[in-house]
Amino acid sequence: MSLPIDTQALRRKALWVRRETLRIHGLAPETRIASSLSAVELFVGLHYGDVMAFNPCNPRWEGRDRLIISKGHGSICYYPILADLGYFGSDELDHICQEGSFLGGIPDTIIPGYETINGSLGHGLGVACGMALALKSRKSDATIFVMLGDGELNEGSVWEGIMFAAQHGLDNIVAIIDNNKLCMLDRCEKIINLEPLEKRFSAFDWECCRIDGHDLDQICATLKACKGERNGRPKAVIADTIKGKGVPVLESDTLCHIKSLSAQELETALEGLV
């Protein structure tokens, strides 16, 4: 039975995740903080908003919904969530990127809760297509969520996957585009402009909608609706987000993708979070 979502509680959770993400970035400055902060609410909605089915005690539980994090670098915010849910002990977070830890700068499937090897962009959607075929063939009603970056859509292999998913009616795939509008060196629109993204996805026979990627009500409602609808079409949720969300020094910097926060900046950032 699904319980009503307590949005206030979700917001508090998102705030906590943002704080923890900043804290572990302080421990491992080589992690990509800005693109992790844009996706905080998306990960929170998926896991605390009654969207995904999962089992931390059995990460490969057959009935789970799959989450493929194709934009691997920008998911450091998922580490505190996985720890909080019990996939591994919270003390692991303190050892991020250190000898003996499995929490790397770019997450891989050695981390309980991660399904695939990540870090090379453009692979996740095609892998999701294969999983979707297998799940359909054994009549599983599990959904595959794929987290993509907007810059990642430059990769041609993503569009091979987009065409394939539509051709095969893979309505058990929900692609979430973390549309933070920035690549490493510039605004996406100045590099390869794909907006309006709805037109691209619709042209390829995907169902598509756009939401505020920091609004937890919209996130939970939309993802739940996408998950429930088996209409022969794959779904794309364009989540408009802000890269570096919550940290002014990142939000205002076009080059924030590769920015690491200094101790002073980190302190200011944590104080400024509300």
Partner: protein
């Protein structure tokens, strides 16, 4: 002697296995084969033409395999091995170190078996680049019987594999009754003395012609480049003074010759090594396969002369 394309025999046998094993899937990048027609008809849900999209073929295969399926990917050799190389590296080689994926990539048209199609369709790099990937199995059969034997091996052995199939029908060399030991990686077809030809794929047929003409020349067919029982190979090579490697691939680039060289040098052997293959240059010339071999020093006469010179040393 029966000549059948290895791809047809392999696919036919696989088709039979698909009847009893519902976990087997076959993905093609819009490449056909007469034997595929039956599979397309009998298993419309598990035969999928992904279109002309080798990168996606590897990605989709990975997703299926991560869900416990046994997957075959079928495309022209240079495209499945090189167009999709990074997908192979990340999703198969890297991934299978943590979560084994049973994905079998079938590259059709090894070497210059598509002889008039030019450098884009020749495949002279695949042995090297597939061999260097950790966790990959690299299989290069010289006839259809070997290819057929690999079907059950590929089902039983989890992990990513690259199958290098000739584009043409080659004469049969092995009998099913031979009890081929795929795990050993090679078979000494002719035991000779002094000089041994170590070959793979199509070139094993060339080696056998040379050996037949000269007599007393050893021939080792090396069909599994990885994993390989290098101790057993070293033992076999130790019976000779001179080794000549023969491959339809670039030499001095990490392929068969490099494999044999490392087996020899690791054990400080004083056996000499000569390498027959394409030497750091693509092939734009047209003509028969024999012609292409002749102008690249890979023909029977060149190898025969080399053997005679080595023998007279």
């Amino acid at each position: 002697m029966i000549s059948r394309p290895m791809r047809d025999v392999f696919i036919e046998t696989l088709c039979n296995r698909m009847t009893s094993n519902e976990n087997i899937w076959f993905l093609a990048a819009d490449l056909g084969s007469p034997a595929l027609d039956r599979m397309r008809e009998e298993f419309p849900d598990r035969f999928i033409n992904v279109g002309i999209a080798e990168q996606n073929l590897v990605n989709v295969a990975t997703g299926l395999a991560l869900e416990g399926q046994i997957v075959y990917g079928y495309a022209i050799a240079p495209f499945i091995s090189m167009r999709a190389y990074e997908q192979v590296r990340v999703n198969l080689s890297v991934s299978s170190q943590i979560r084994p994926v049973n994905v079998n990539l079938i590259g059709v048209g090894s070497g210059v078996s598509y002889q008039v199609s030019g450098p884009t369709h020749h495949c002279l790099e695949d042995l090297s680049i597939m061999r260097l990937l950790p966790n990959m199995t690299v299989f290069s059969p010289s006839d259809a019987t070997l290819a057929e034997t690999f079907v059950d091996y590929s089902i039983a052995n989890n992990g990513p594999k690259y199958l290098r199939f000739d584009g043409k029908a080659l004469p049969q060399l092995y009998q099913k009754a031979d009890r081929i030991q795929l795990e050993t990686g090679f078979c000494e077809l002719i035991h000779g003395s002094d000089v041994c030809l170590v070959s793979t794929g199509f070139m094993t047929h060339r080696a056998l012609l040379v050996a037949k003409e000269l007599g007393n020349v050893g021939v080792i067919d090396l069909f599994m480049l990885k994993p390989l029982r290098s101790d057993k190979l070293h033992d076999a090579l130790s019976a000779y003074r001179h080794i000549i490697t023969m491959e339809e691939a670039f030499i001095n680039a990490g392929g068969l010759d490099s494999l044999v060289a490392s087996v020899l040098t690791e054990r400080r052997s004083d056996i000499t090594l000569d390498r027959i293959g394409f030497n750091d240059s693509y092939v734009f010339q047209l003509g028969s396969r024999d012609h292409l071999h002749r102008i690249n020093g890979m023909d029977e006469a060149t190898v025969t002369t080399l053997v005679n010179r080595l023998r007279s040393r």
